[in-house]
């Protein structure tokens, strides 16, 4: 019995040294998922918060406003009206057509961990009663990377928005960029998704791209960068090349705050940073500006 007590001991208390916290790059790469347990220690301010309070605060630290990662299902729950999501293209399934090493086990692991079939969920959504086509990418599924299914789902979602003249909203969080396990076909998804946006534009539809932590590589260098309006959540890591790759290439320390939402705003790459709690109302407002039928 005593042994059992030890077993249930929470695993989340891993205290980082001050130095590790100070290192810009590593702090950003720090896992921003909230571990299970009663208490959560914030990555940034190191303050400890009761888990339930953190959940209530949409996984944002109540002390310093640090935005932790949330998964796709949590995102839908928080962003879409209750009962207002109708999933599309759920029957598209990934196949390991290159017989790539360790891909099958990676997929299984991700499916088990996320209860998703792939890294993207797409569908028709109602947000404060406004209809739109929504795509959400989950970082926990093979790093939120884009392979054939993610590319096809995003493309079909854009095509659905084009055909039904609805706004398209994508919430990206793909740290892995293009999915190497599907080789060159993953790269081609960048072209497939990006070019579909041309037809969406011709149809006069609004596209709002929401960048969440992390949005990198092939996802950032395709549809995620092509919004009519581009929004980032605070504290997200967003960029083309990963910070480690850059550091290895230039052999210099990266400046503090490099590739954060704030950095992107300062450099003119995004339109605005919106707090998680305000995201739904901001998107609602933006769509109302563009849609005369919605009051």
């Amino acid at each position: 019995m005593l042994k059992d007590l030890f077993k249930t001991k929470p695993k989340y208390i891993t205290v980082k040294s001050e130095r590790q916290l100070e290192q810009g790059v590593d702090a950003h790469l720090e896992k921003k998922d909230i571990p299970d347990g009663l208490w959560v220690k914030c990555n940034r301010c190191a303050q400890i918060t009761y888990h339930k309070d953190m959940e209530k605060n949409l996984k944002v630290c109540p002390k310093c406003n640090f935005h932790f990662r949330i998964n796709a299902k949590e995102r839908l729950k928080l962003f879409v009206d209750e009962g207002g999501f109708e999933e599309t293209e759920a029957n598209l399934k990934t196949i390991n057509f290159l017989n790539f090493p360790e891909y099958d086990s990676k997929l299984k692991k991700s499916q088990k961990a996320t209860d998703l079939t792939e890294a993207a969920i797409t569908g028709k959504a109602l947000i404060n009663g406004i209809p739109m086509v929504l795509a959400v990418i989950d970082f926990n599924f093979v790093g939120g990377s884009m392979g054939s299914v993610v590319g096809e789902k995003i493309t079909r979602a854009i095509e659905l928005a084009t055909a039904t003249k609805l706004p398209f909203v994508a919430v990206s969080g793909g740290g892995g960029g293009a999915r190497m396990h599907e080789g060159i076909f993953s790269l081609m998804q960048m072209a497939k998704t990006s070019q579909a946006l041309n037809k969406l534009s011709e149809a006069g539809c609004l596209y709002i791209s929401i960048l969440t932590d992390p949005t990198m590589g092939g996802i950032f260098a395709s549809f995620a960068s092509l919004g009519d309006i581009t929004i980032a959540e605070p504290d997200a890591l967003i960029g083309f090349a990963g910070p480690r790759v850059i550091q290895q290439t230039i052999r210099q320390t990266l400046p503090p705050g490099f590739q954060t939402s704030q950095f992107l705003l300062e450099h003119g790459i995004i339109d605005m940073i919106v707090q998680r709690k305000d995201l739904k109302s901001t998107v609602t407002q933006l769509i109302k500006f563009h849609n005369t039928e919605v009051k």
């Binding site: 196949i95 599907e182 060159i184 990006s194 083309f240």
Partner: protein, 322 residues
């Protein structure tokens, strides 16, 4: 042949050794005035057979070594050998001129074209100036500017692609590398002129696709086109970049794979042992294939060109529907 043009690869050593032996025997026979023609001829035949054997059975990794050979013809080498009257046009009109991305107007036979490529250095000094052929966002924006200009004057665009990747650096991120790549891809898909992309060397991920959305995509025999470098891939899966050869096989990034998978339309033959062994021959093959592919495209309307290109990229992906 082959001994004075840069590094020699492990797999071609037997060829180089035999070549050297023949040279020595020839010198010996001249010095000593002994007729050894028969022996030399026999050895030369053997050399030719060995050459074919070694270079016709290259592994994916050996081909990648060949495309990274420092003497492999670069964009400006091909410009001189394939095109006529090239006039370089500089700058993105927004920030600066990126020497890693070169573009301008030229004639292909008698057809005026816009030609764009990434320029690797041919020595250390040029490599530093050209940033090893790794473009910054302004490079991609210059390329797009020239493509739009070509569209205005109904001029075909030819992109020769030889890029390890878009540059991963602080300034590149500050100036929006991701956006620059994304915009190029999207805008290229919308061009109403013929676009031909040829992977002439390294087709490195998004940095290559950003100049690679073509009506025709062609590839030189030893070139590769990949979502990630074999080294990068190996260090992710096996935490060991030295297993790049295995990663290259797994990724299926060589010309023959890409042709089989429908990513490229045609493979352009290189001289035995790689384009650097005989740049003129490589350039001749490139030019012939370019012309053959461009002529039918010139017959198509802008709308057809756009739609065909769209359908090409729309079709890519493997999945099941359950």
């Amino acid at each position: 042949m082959g001994s004075n043009i840069g590094p020699i690869f492990e797999f071609e050593k037997p060829v180089v050794e035999l070549d050297k032996q023949i040279e020595e025997i020839r010198r010996f026979s001249q010095e000593k005035k002994i007729d050894m023609t028969a022996q030399i001829t026999a050895m030369e035949q053997k050399l030719e057979a060995l050459r074919v054997e070694v270079y016709s059975n290259l592994t994916p990794w050996q081909r990648i070594q060949i495309v990274r050979h420092p003497k492999r013809p670069t964009f400006l080498d091909y410009i001189g050998m394939v095109f006529k009257d090239f006039i370089e046009l500089h700058g993105d009109r927004l920030y600066r001129d990126d020497p890693a991305m070169v573009g301008g107007i030229a004639y292909l036979d008698d057809i005026p074209v816009t030609v764009i490529g990434q320029q690797k250095g041919r020595d250390t000094k040029e490599n530093i100036y050209r940033n090893f052929g790794l473009p910054h966002p302004e490079g991609y924006r210059k390329a797009l500017r020239l493509m739009k200009q070509a569209e205005k004057f109904n001029r075909p665009v030819i992109c020769l692609v030889d890029v390890v990747g878009a540059y991963p650096g602080i300034e590149a991120e500050e100036r929006g590398q991701g956006e620059a790549v994304a915009r190029n891809i999207r805008e290229m898909a919308n061009l109403t002129i013929p676009v031909i992309a040829v992977i002439t060397g390294e087709g490195g991920s998004g940095g290559a696709l950003a100049v690679g959305v073509g009506n025709r995509v062609l590839i030189l025999e030893n070139a590769y086109y990949s979502v990630i470098s074999p080294e990068g891939c190996a260090s992710i899966i096996w935490k060991d970049a030295s297993r790049a050869a295995e990663a290259a096989e797994a990724l299926q990034i060589n010309a023959e794979h890409l042709l089989r998978m429908g990513i490229v339309d045609e493979m352009i033959p290189e001289p035995l042992g790689g384009a650097h062994k005989n740049p003129l021959e490589a350039a001749r093959n490139l030019k012939e294939t370019l012309v053959n592919n461009l002529l039918p495209l010139l017959q198509l309307s802008g709308a057809t060109l756009l739609e065909e290109r769209y359908q090409r990229f729309r079709s890519y992906g493997h999945f099941s529907v359950k």
